[in-house]
Amino acid sequence: MTAALDLVALLGRTVLGLLRALGQVSLFAAEALSHLVRPPFFLRQFARHFVEIAYFSLPVVALTALFTGMVLALQSYVGFARFNAESAIASVVVLSVTRELGPVLAGLMVAGRIGAAMAAEIGTMRVTDQIDALTTLSTDPMKYLVAPRLLAGTLALPLLVLIADILGVMGGFLVGVLKLGFVPQTFLSNAWDILQPMDVISGLVKAAVFGFVIALMGCWCGYASRGGAQGVGQATTRAVVAASILILAFDYLLTAAFFS
């Protein structure tokens, strides 16, 4: 009986802890968003983070998209050949990349690269009094540190995903034409015929949401970190794990919203 009560108590504590964290993150996000519409604006900070996310993440996102498109074409061929449905490969590649794999894989790559960096930088600023120093220098840390990162993440990821979409389809095209013997014009016309504007738009909307989530978790975990190097390390891990899980959860919710 006692063991059962302990279990219920543990469950209750966990749920309450999750709800508390959800409330804290929501308030944090609301405050940061309010700074996006209230001057002064730190455009230099925004530009710095936009370049960091959009430009310096490009190689890893591009390679991921390219190889994913290539693998997708190859795997689809193996399966579809059994049913004489090889002509559907172009459609599968283009729809999978634009609707799902482009935004999700780019999101996960950026979460690992940028979410971790944001948490580490802000966490280090927290434990070395730099955030307190900002306050004493009449600068709101939310306005200077968090708001520009949220905006940069939200705007940069759709740009990355657009490039990932193109490269992913190109990967599938290369494998289809060079390895599987497709006629280039046929592959491209199959892909183009099936593609609808909403396929690309839904991917870009997902990317914007993922970019916001990555920046939010990076900033929040860093901002809430305590206790020196160990605290910063934990914040970095939490930021990447939380952003990755939220990307997958939001992917399902947005897919359901767009295509149900």
């Binding site: 009094d129 307190d132 306050t135």
Partner: protein, 257 residues
């Protein structure tokens, strides 16, 4: 010299969980004076300054700056107060992502009180006041020694010409000569600006050099205050033990064996 306290603390209390860090701090900081608060590690010195600056919220008590209750200030009033204060953090707290000159002029740039071109000149002037060459402005904080970082942090604290300056352990981690240099710079800067200074330290030599008035905090309460020059022979057993670094006395360190 005005006798009106620029900063007035009454019954200030702050606890972290079960630990009562401030337990009714009463303190007056006279305008134009340099006041030093002494105390051992964990006695509540830094928490006191953080409460005055609004970085921490006190559980109870009154904090007045120029007669205004800081704890009841609106966001705009608090911003106006912070505009005329400067703070030197114990570890400098320089922004590693910015070069030294942007660190020094951070407040002026953030408030658009100077252009970026003007800021370089203002930074060079502030760096000169703390004995650093203008070329240091182009370096990043990570390229500076501990003493230079402290001087840059001092330059940042005075660049916007504040009339209240807080110093958190200004000489911690510095060799005695560099400590004396920093103290000299602090005294010069505070006098030049005509500012009110509140410093916290456990470095007695530093306290004597920079303080007009001293107070001692122990177990979250001010247990003595008086002229800084009397430190070491105040007649208060606690202060004299602390000032002379004696092992035996009313202050007992909590050591586990």
């Amino acid at each position: 010299m005005s006798a009106t306290p620029r900063i007035r603390l009454r019954g200030l209390r702050k606890a972290f969980g079960a630990k009562q860090v401030l337990d009714g701090v009463d303190l007056d900081v006279v305008a134009g004076h340099s006041t030093v608060v002494l105390g051992g590690s964990g006695s509540g010195k830094s928490v006191t300054i953080k409460c005055i600056l609004g970085l921490l919220s006190p559980d109870e008590g009154l904090i007045e700056v120029d007669g205004q209750d800081v704890t009841r200030m609106s966001r705009a009033e608090r911003a106006a107060l912070l505009d005329r204060t400067g703070m030197l953090f114990q570890n400098g707290a320089l922004f590693d992502s910015l070069p030294v000159w942007e660190n020094v002029c951070f407040k002026l740039l953030a408030q658009k009180r100077v252009t970026r071109a003007q800021a370089r000149d203002v930074a060079a002037e502030a760096l000169a006041q703390v004995g650093l060459a203008a070329t240091v402005g182009e370096l990043s904080p990570a390229e500076l020694s501990g003493g230079m970082q402290k001087r840059v942090a001092l330059a940042r604290a005075i660049a916007a010409r504040p009339d209240i300056i807080f110093f958190d352990e200004p000489t911690t981690g510095l060799d005695p000569i560099m400590g004396a240099v920093i103290d000299g710079l602090i005294v010069d800067c505070v006098r030049r600006l005509g500012a009110t200074a509140l410093s916290i330290t456990h470095d007695m030599a530093s306290a004597r050099r920079i303080g007009d008035t001293a107070a001692m905090i122990h177990k979250g309460r001010i247990v003595w205050s008086g002229p800084a020059e009397t430190l070491g022979h105040t007649g208060n057993a606690m202060v004299d033990q602390f000032a002379n670094g004696e092992r035996e006395g009313p202050i007992q360190m909590e050591l586990r064996r």
